[in-house]
């Protein structure tokens, strides 16, 4: 049998970037992502495969050794590992404990938006209160941006990570660029 040519990954908007004096928008690199669902009785078991205790307060997140867990609901977390190759190991580890783990690495893609106008640009489409008091660094939420659903995660005072389903990322990019014209 002839050697099979390996398929090439083509993530959406690979390398896309925009910047002006007030704002920078860039497509995040591919990552491993898992939708993790578990009941309160199962939380303790999860500490071992994850390497940390899952955040349990609404809107909070936890990051350790490249793995982040974002609280999305009382029984729901989004796990993100910056290493796209980490997914099999992560799935395997979670398979061993009682929980629901579904690979969504390719369902979602992410856009990083930073700069002094990031909050204003996001508030062009997102109705959440993004002031530092209400939405501090580390805070995350499933929310709306225009007509689409996103998960917004504040990385630092002026930097946000936006998770979006891949086919909606074009809409998100277009909206962010349009809104960036009103910031700066």
């Amino acid at each position: 049998m002839a050697k099979i040519k390996m398929a090439k990954a083509r993530p959406p908007h690979e390398g896309r970037r925009f910047a002006n004096s007030a704002i920078s928008i860039e497509q995040a690199l591919p990552a491993s992502r898992i939708s993790l669902r578990a009941g309160s009785n199962e939380l303790a078991e999860l500490t071992k495969p994850l390497g940390f205790k899952l955040p349990s307060k609404p809107g909070t997140s936890k990051t350790k050794s490249g793995l982040s867990a974002l609280w999305l609901g009382p029984d729901e977390w989004l796990l993100i590992n910056n290493d796209p190759q980490a997914i099999s190991k992560l799935m395997e580890n979670l398979d061993a404990v009682k929980c629901s783990n579904v690979d969504i690495s390719h369902r979602n893609t992410a856009i990083i938006i930073s700069g002094k106008a990031a909050e204003d640009v996001l508030n062009s489409g997102c109705p959440r209160d993004l002031s530092l008091d209400a939405f501090p660094p580390g805070f995350c939420s499933r929310t709306l941006f225009g007509k689409i659903e996103i998960i917004l995660w504040r990385l630092s005072e002026n930097s946000f990570h936006i998770e979006v389903w891949r086919s909606y990322s074009e809409y998100l990019w277009t909206f962010l660029l349009d809104a960036s014209k009103d910031a700066g």
Partner: protein, 1000 residues
């Protein structure tokens, strides 16, 4: 042209900063800071428009957002043309070009002014009375004429080239209105550390005190105090100041919409800026400081150009340095008009007389008037006015009768007192209370966290107002520093309804609503004709229904209706205040949601490949799907035939990514599926698939799809493309409310997987060389199975399944690899005849096999039995969603429409989808000329195609008792002929299904 009415030493504008503008083709000079109205008045132009119905000449009545008359069209270019702009709020810019409206051929001579003379023929409600007979004239005559005459201004025909923005914002305190009350509250709240948004519709903060020259606040003039207050607020980080920003809508939970006009005042708008910006503000607390609007008096011919609100004249003088006339009369029931008269007198304008309806206006005002040498007529009314394009005289008479005297004037100020602007309060669902002693509706019961302060709360005294504002801004803190007020002018005195001389017995045109030409007489007529609620009066007369929404007219209309009914005013009711407070452009509300942002467009990872191959796309919900792939010279029909033949003879490749996918996990996953789908799932082995049908509680088909069992507790569910979100919701709903006993989780994986369908006799040999770790042989991987392994070196969930009737596979790969794997499969198969096919060919292929499409062959009233899918119902299951619904008497009764196949007697004729079916020949399509036999429809065509594989047309249809009609002849009446059809089973091709297994 020079501005002859600009008075040196008056106003706040710099005489050095001149700019040019044109109105109806004439170029005039204005000053920076002017409104279009103030600049026109400075040039002696009062005539600014024609009224809507009677085309009466109308002048500038006000100096604010309430303006009903001076509505103009302003065009920067052909694409930037906007009608109905109030000249009183439009800031002047160099080169502004304005045109008057509703006149032909010119403003001074308007042909349609003949309507004014014909007024007796246009009474209130004339639309409802006049155009009744003959009935046929409505379409041909009345409606075209009315449509041509209707509407004010011309809407632009071209797309709006400007950009609009949106901003969501949150704050502790939103203050609507930046007059003395709003500024005071903002200062107090800011000092308490609250996060504040203060907005005002004007270019500058300050409101009404900006034109009060007498007032002193803390020893400063009003303008100095405003400047200081604004500077103080602007320096604070917790304060956002928004001028040119109207709070126009107050919604639930303190959600307030603001429209900010960003570039409307600029001669050359900065292209970096949006034209307008919508602010959607969620405030913990709202402070309403929206002020009050002065009312006009309702007297005979009160609409001549030159007749103006007293406060407007005062504002034009003190803010803009413009005298509205040289010999001015004053007609009032309110103290504040006296102050306006004094200011004008001081500026050198002759005051012909102050006519006050009251017998005893305050003595100090009378003394001051006497000192200035102004004639006072107490207890007098104005009975009529003269002057065609500008008022020339007024006739005055004591209220209790007596000699009529004519007084020459070139302008007339008038005031009936002040109406608090309770629009936003009312929109917040707050309840108003009528204060009989003051003739005012004032905020009473609040339903949101909001408070009204200042004039909009009826607080006209500046000292009380300051205390109220400080308390509102800083409720929890100790008493704020007192602010000293001196020389305030009084706003006391009121008149509502028709003035004496415009009463029930007088046959005069005393206008209540200028914009819609409603007179006191019209309102009385409406009451006499049986309109006893103000809501009826409003609609019958159209009072308050124009773009100004009755800011000036509502109270008068109410009072006249109450008088005519012999009721107290509050018993007549009050019309609802609705958003927007002032007109807002559609573009501002749409803001970013235009063009590509109107709605998201979803594309699959293989989209670009299809584009490059010349695919024609169709919209399926938000998705773009390849419809067919025409080769050079092919029409759709030819392309689809070729694609279908390729799949039947060799193989086709199809992008099935858009199908919904849900991963169902957990120990109870199979039981969950048992309850949600009609089929049984417990015994489905790992690695096997089954076609499932999902019903709603009512027993009707909701969705369908193939479900594969990946492991014992993990299922890969597919749904229809359009059904994906609602199926997920349906499942979550049951899981969270009905089946809480089940340990199951649902995750949407629709976009995790790119799905490449390879269908046809050669499917296996095409993909086999690319696959690792899966035995693709028929024995190892039969029809309806699923395996995990690798394709092109990446993980796949490989399904052996078919929606074409051919042996086929659906390759699921992580979406980033979709395009690359697709290309590899295509490269592998193309030499062997692998052909890309689109959704149209897919539809034909599945119809040849009688596979239904939910939503096309079902319409939400079709049960699995009706669709011929009884085999998919797990009869042994104790329960599933829809089981009881299916037993409803009407769902088991005879006569239900059932899905059947149809073959046309003439094999070349392709039926139209949606065509209706009858049982006997001779029935024709209505509206045929009688005496056709009335058509009795027994069903309709749901799917219809030309089948190249079979050489004849095929169709699916829902027909009453269709399952028992096989072999019968039915008829499809069309407009030009009747088509004979024979009822068949739903499967047309490969009846025993051998091809699915690679046989036949």
């Amino acid at each position: 042209m020079s501005a002859q009415n600009r008075i040196k030493g008056h106003g706040q504008l710099s005489l050095a900063k001149t700019i040019n503008f044109t109105f109806d083709g004439t170029t005039y000079q204005g000053l920076e800071g002017d409104t279009l109205a103030s600049a026109l008045l400075a040039n002696g132009v009062h005539l600014a428009g024609r009224s809507f119905k009677y085309h009466r000449p109308r002048g500038i009545l006000s100096a604010g957002p309430e303006e009903p008359n001076a509505l103009v069209n302003i065009a920067r270019d052909s694409t930037r043309s906007q009608p109905n702009i109030r000249a009183t709020v439009q800031e002047l810019y160099d080169g502004l070009t304005a045109e008057s409206q509703n006149r032909w051929p010119s403003l001074a001579f308007d042909f349609s002014a003949i309507n004014d003379g014909l007024a007796p023929f246009f009474p209130a409600g004339f639309y409802y009375k006049t155009f009744k007979w003959p009935p046929k004239a409505w379409d041909k005559l009345y409606e075209p004429i009315i449509r041509a005459a209707a509407g004010l201004g011309k809407s632009p025909a071209e797309a709006d080239p400007d950009r609009y923005a949106n901003r969501y914002a949150h704050c502790d305190v939103l203050i609507a209105g930046g007059g003395i009350a709003g500024l005071t509250a903002a200062l107090a709240a800011a000092k308490a550390g609250k996060k504040i948004i203060l907005c005002d519709e004007n270019p500058n903060f300050g409101g009404a005190i900006l034109y009060d020259n007498a007032l002193e606040i803390d020893g400063l003039s009003a303008t100095e105090w405003v400047e200081k207050a604004v500077a103080e607020l602007a320096a604070l980080e917790n304060v956002r100041l928004l001028t040119r920003t109207t709070a126009f809508g107050y919604y639930a939970q303190n959600f307030v919409a603001l429209a900010e006009r960003v570039t409307e005042h600029m001669a050359e708008p900065d292209p970096a800026l949006p034209r307008e910006r919508l602010w959607q503000v969620r405030a913990k607390e709202v402070i309403l400081a929206t002020g009050a609007i002065e009312r006009h008096l309702v007297f005979a011919d009160n609409d001549r150009p030159g007749i103006m609100l007293a406060s407007a004249a005062q504002k034009y003088l003190n803010q803009y340095g413009v005298a509205i006339g040289a010999n001015v009369g004053v007609f009032t029931a309110c103290d504040s008009a006296w102050a306006a008269a004094f200011d004008l007198k001081k500026a050198g304008v002759n005051i012909a007389a102050i006519v006050d309806l009251r017998d005893n206006p305050p003595l100090e005002l009378q003394e001051k008037a006497q000192t200035c040498g102004i004639r006072i007529l107490r207890g007098y009314t104005v009975t009529k006015t003269s002057g065609r394009l500008r008022v020339q005289s007024i006739s005055v008479q004591p209220i209790n009768g007596g000699t009529v005297e004519q007084i020459r004037v070139d302008a007339l100020l008038n005031s009936a007192g002040w109406t608090p602007s309770v629009h936003l309060f009312s929109q917040s669902r707050g309840k108003l209370k009528w204060h009989q002693d003051r003739d005012l509706f004032l905020p009473d019961i609040y339903v949101q966290d909001c408070i009204s302060i200042g004039a909009c709360n009826g607080t006209f005294d500046e000292n009380e107002l300051i205390a109220e504002a400080q308390a509102a801004g800083n409720a929890t803190r100790k008493k704020a520093k007192a602010i000293r007020i001196e020389n305030q002018s009084s706003w006391a005195g009121n008149a509502i309804g028709a003035a004496p001389g415009a009463g029930p017995s007088d046959n005069v045109k005393a206008f209540v609503d200028f914009q819609n030409d409603v007179t006191a007489k019209d309102i009385r007529l409406a009451v006499r004709e049986g309109m006893h609620s103000i809501e009826h009066v409003k609609r019958f007369t159209t009072t308050g229904m124009a773009t100004d929404q009755g800011k000036l007219s509502n109270m008068h209309g109410l009072a006249i209706a109450a008088e005519q009914l012999g009721k107290n005013l509050p018993d007549v009711g009050l019309t609802t205040f609705r958003a927007p407070y002032t007109p807002v452009t559609f573009s501002t509300i749409a803001n970013h949601a235009r063009g590509p942002l109107f709605d998201p467009t979803r594309k699959t990872p293989m989209h670009q490949w299809a584009v490059d191959k010349g695919a024609v796309f169709e919209d399926v919900g938000p998705w773009k799907r390849a419809w067919y792939f025409p080769k050079a010279g092919e029409d759709m029909h030819a392309a689809v035939n070729r694609e279908c033949v390729a799949v039947r003879k060799k193989a086709g490749i199809f992008d099935a990514t858009t199908l919904g996918k849900i991963e169902i996990t957990g120990p109870d996953a199979a039981e969950f599926l048992n309850r949600l789908y009609t089929n049984p799932w417990t015994k489905l082995g790992v690695g096997r698939c089954r076609y499932g049908i999902m019903c709603r509680e009512d027993g009707f088909i909701y969705d369908d799809g193939v479900i594969g069992r990946i492991t014992d507790d993990r299922f890969h569910v597919t749904t229809t493309t359009g059904g994906a979100p609602r199926v997920m919701n349906h499942m979550e709903d049951y899981l969270q409310t009905e089946f809480t006993d089940l340990d199951v989780h649902l995750t949407s994986t629709s976009e995790q997987w790119a799905v490449i369908a390879v269908q046809g006799p050669l499917a296996r040999e095409i993909i086999e060389p690319l696959v690792e770790g899966i035995d693709l042989s028929h024995e190892a991987m039969p029809h309806m199975s699923v395996r995990e392994g690798k394709i092109c070196g990446v993980p796949t969930r490989l399904f052996r399944m078919s929606f074409t009737g051919e042996m086929g596979f659906e390759i699921n790969v992580p979406a980033d690899y979709g395009e690359s794997v697709w290309q590899a499969v295509y490269a592998q198969g193309e030499p062997r005849g692998l052909t890309p096919y689109g959704t149209e060919a897919m539809h034909v292929l599945r119809a040849e096999k009688g596979y239904i499409i939910v939503g096309q062959d079902t319409d939400g009233t079709v049960t699995p039995h009706d669709a011929g899918l009884s085999w998919a119902i797990g009869k042994a299951k104790p329960d599933f969603v829809g089981k009881r619904g299916m037993r409803r008497p009407d769902l088991v009764a005879e006569g239900r429409r059932q899905l059947v196949g149809l073959r046309t007697k003439n094999p070349k004729v392709v039926l139209e989808e949606g065509a209706q079916i009858v049982a006997t020949p001779g029935q024709t399509v209505p509206p045929a000329i009688p005496p056709a036999i009335p058509m009795k429809m027994i069903g309709f065509v749901t799917s219809s195609y030309w089948s190249e594989a079979l050489g004849h047309s095929i169709a699916l249809a829902l027909v009453e008792d269709g399952h028992s009609l096989e072999g019968d002849t039915l008829y499809v009446p069309m407009e030009d002929r009747t088509i004979e059809v024979e009822v068949s089973g739903c499967v047309f091709y490969d009846l025993d299904g051998g091809r699915l297994n690679g046989k036949n």
